[in-house]
């Protein structure tokens, strides 16, 4: 009796999704197998099978460094991509990304606060957590992001017009940037350096114990996005049509912003502000899948985001280079040409019909 909204598996889009999934598997393995330290394939197998007793370094590198890094990249890519898609649909703006509401700026402010300001105070710890630990940084990032999210949701209740809400988000970003700049000005060069390095983004700073929080929260955000598939489609018609079809536009807007906010907050807290993935992946997906239907776009975008993040992570840690490039450098090099091509395409195509 039930027929899916999705076309049968062997359609164009179905094949695409399968090939994305397959590529993700391949890239995942590549990310485990390759890095600045070259480990022979036999060694990798040994580690995975648990029989690498002698080679403690290999086991540490693969299981405690590369594996969490690959998982983080995967989830961060999917989460940011779907957040970007939701923002682009809600605001009907192709240049929107998950950070457009200023949430990752809020996270940055929290981190700047603890890296550059708290250090000046006499405090050393708060409820047993050292203020200068990795955990404290993550907590402050979440605090900053959540505060900004509350602010945005508050404004969303008062302002019906989406364009105005967008501008408020951008203004919040400006204010937080200014505050961060003040902190930078009065900070020592070491703290500045630490903050700058955080700002370049990294998938490598998430420990296994932290993944216990990261994984469920991101999966929750992804799950909510699935539930929003239908409302997102309806929103494409415009708010009047959507209301006429029985959609509570305000509630929907609330949940979209909440889901995107949570995803952006947690990903920025653990990985730093990652640029471009959220903006570029929805466009790539729309171009490849040739559809506006979210029942195909949501899974498509998540898969594409995971894939692209794994590719960027791989490139950033190419074997042969002792160093790892910061993630934002790689994503920008990918993302910027895409943004440019979107703008060029928009001149020729009509996006609103």
């Amino acid at each position: 009796m039930m027929r899916q909204n999705l076309k049968p598996v062997f359609s164009h889009n179905g094949i695409l999704m399968l090939s994305f999934a397959g590529s993700i598997a391949v890239l995942f393995v590549l990310n485990l197998a390759m890095g600045s330290v070259s480990i022979p394939f036999g060694g990798i197998l040994q580690v995975i099978l648990g029989s690498a007793g002698e080679q403690k370094t290999w086991s540490t590198i693969i299981l405690k460094s590369r594996l969490p890094q690959a998982i983080t990249a995967c989830l961060a890519g999917g989460g940011l991509a779907v957040g970007g898609l939701m923002m682009q649909t809600l605001f009907r703006n192709p240049l929107a990304g998950p950070s457009i509401l200023g949430i990752s700026s809020g996270a940055s402010l929290g981190v700047a606060f603890i890296m550059m300001f708290v250090g000046q105070l006499q405090l050393s710890a708060f409820t047993g957590i050292s203020l200068f630990s990795n955990v404290a940084t993550i907590i402050m990032a979440i605090a900053g992001a959540v505060a900004t999210l509350f602010l945005i949701l508050f404004f969303a209740r008062k302002i019906r017009d989406n364009a105005m809400l967008l501008i408020i988000g951008i203004m919040i970003s400006y204010i937080t940037s200014a505050l961060v700049d003040i902190l930078k000005y009065y900070s020592t060069s070491e703290h500045l350096h630490s903050y700058a390095m955080w700002g370049l983004g990294s998938f490598s700073n998430v420990a296994w114990s932290q993944l216990e929080i990261f994984i469920p929260v991101v999966l929750l955000g992804l799950g909510v996005s699935f539930l929003l598939m239908k409302p997102l489609n309806i929103l494409l018609l415009g708010e009047n049509y959507a209301a006429n079809l029985g959609l509570n536009v305000n509630h929907t807007r609330f949940y979209i912003i909440l889901a995107t906010g949570i995803l952006t907050a947690v990903i920025t807290a653990f990985c730093g502000p990652i640029v471009f993935l959220g903006l570029a992946v929805p466009h790539i997906t729309k171009m490849v899948f040739k559809t506006s239907n979210h029942s195909r776009l949501i899974p498509g975008v998540i898969l594409a985001g995971m894939l692209l993040a794994l590719v960027c992570n791989f490139i950033a840690r190419l074997p042969g280079f002792d160093n790892a490039l910061p993630i934002n450098v790689v994503t920008s090099i990918f993302g910027a040409p895409i943004v440019i091509s979107v703008i060029l395409k928009q001149r020729r195509l009509k996006l609103s019909v």
Binding site: R3, N5, I234, T291, S292, S295, V353
Partner: protein
């Protein structure tokens, strides 16, 4: 007691501006929509057509009075239930360009489907039927941004049909269409309303098509004046004259169209009748003349083999002319 699907009681529509008194466009309206009737809302710009439509559709708050759907006040309906009673077709811009016609129309099933929008077998049948009703079954897999304007409107109408509401409200659906498309849509809507017993209300500028296809017309004047009735009753009661006449424009009850008037027009006598007579009068009127018996100038229509017009000038001269264009030209040179 007729079963009206929608009726209003002392409805006042208008809009509120911040810190000013609300601007009332029309007050004390008592209107009805009946199943199986195709109603057209006519009125000059600024008379509040859009406001009335949007108030009915629920996008706009009424300034006073009540609207009843099926005997229950509109305010008391939940969104989901309202969605099953009223569907709309608007001029709003949408972003569904990259969806297929099928996907677009199936969005009309939203009030009936679950969380993921999965369509049941019945849903699919309804969507198919809706697309068929507008005659677009062959294009169901085309992308919306590949359609022409008329086809796109039909797809939107199909979506409203798929929503299976007893009332469909349309806001200037034919505004940007060419004449054949306009006729096609109006005919379609009339057929849908009578075949499916729906109450269809639309606002339009297109007087001619409204007169032709509407079962009822609501005439919206500029100051608090709404008249409703069948087109014929309104014409015969002289309502159209009252509503639309302006200086130099006259509503002709016979033809159901507007004509240009000019009391100072020079008179020209026409000898002849039929089709040619009509169209020569048209040309004369356009150029500031009118036909009348007492005139020194006359035009005689001669149809012996070929068509000729004999122009007799006030000087007594007779000229034989082969086209209306030359005729008018000659008349004008006499000035």
């Amino acid at each position: 007691m007729e079963n009206h699907l929608l009726h209003t009681k002392d409805l006042t529509i208008g809009y509120r501006e911040k810190r000013k008194n609300p601007k009332i466009l029309h007050g004390q309206l008592n209107l009805r929509l009946l199943p199986g009737e195709f109603t057209c809302l006519l009125g000059p710009n600024g008379s509040g057509k859009s406001t009335l439509i949007r108030t009915f559709a629920g996008f706009h708050k009424a300034l006073g009075g009540k609207i009843f759907l099926d005997q229950q006040e509109v305010q008391q309906f939940r969104e989901k239930d309202l969605a099953k009673l009223v569907s709309v077709v608007l001029t709003d811009k949408t972003h569904v360009g990259n969806m297929t016609v099928f996907e677009l129309v199936s969005m009309g099933r939203h009030p009936y489907t679950g969380f993921f929008g999965n369509l049941t077998h019945d849903d699919l049948k309804i969507v198919h039927h809706a697309i068929d009703s507008v005659g677009m079954l062959g294009m169901k897999n085309r992308l919306v941004n590949e359609l022409s304007d008329g086809e796109r409107q039909k797809a939107m109408i199909a979506k409203a049909l798929a929503q299976q509401t007893p009332i469909i409200i349309l806001d200037e659906p034919t505004a940007y269409l060419d004449l054949p498309s306009r006729i096609e849509i109006m005919q379609l809507l009339h057929n849908l309303s009578s075949n499916m017993q729906k109450a269809i209300l639309l606002s339009t500028h297109d007087l001619e098509q409204a007169l032709r296809f509407a079962d009822k017309i609501w005439l919206l004047g500029n100051e608090n004046h709404v008249q409703s009735g069948t087109p014929e009753d309104l014409i015969l009661a002289g309502e159209f004259k009252k509503f639309f006449e302006r200086k130099g424009i006259r509503f002709d009850n016979l033809s159901g169209t507007f004509k240009i008037t000019n009391p100072k027009a020079k008179k020209v006598r026409i000898i002849g009748q039929g089709l040619e007579y009509n169209w020569i009068v048209n040309a004369l009127r356009r150029n500031g003349y009118t036909e009348g018996q007492d005139s020194e100038m006359s035009i005689e229509i001669r149809k012996n083999g070929s068509l000729n017009y004999i122009l007799k000038k006030p000087t007594g001269e007779h000229i034989e002319i082969g086209s209306v264009e030359n005729l008018i030209h000659q008349i004008k040179t006499l000035e």
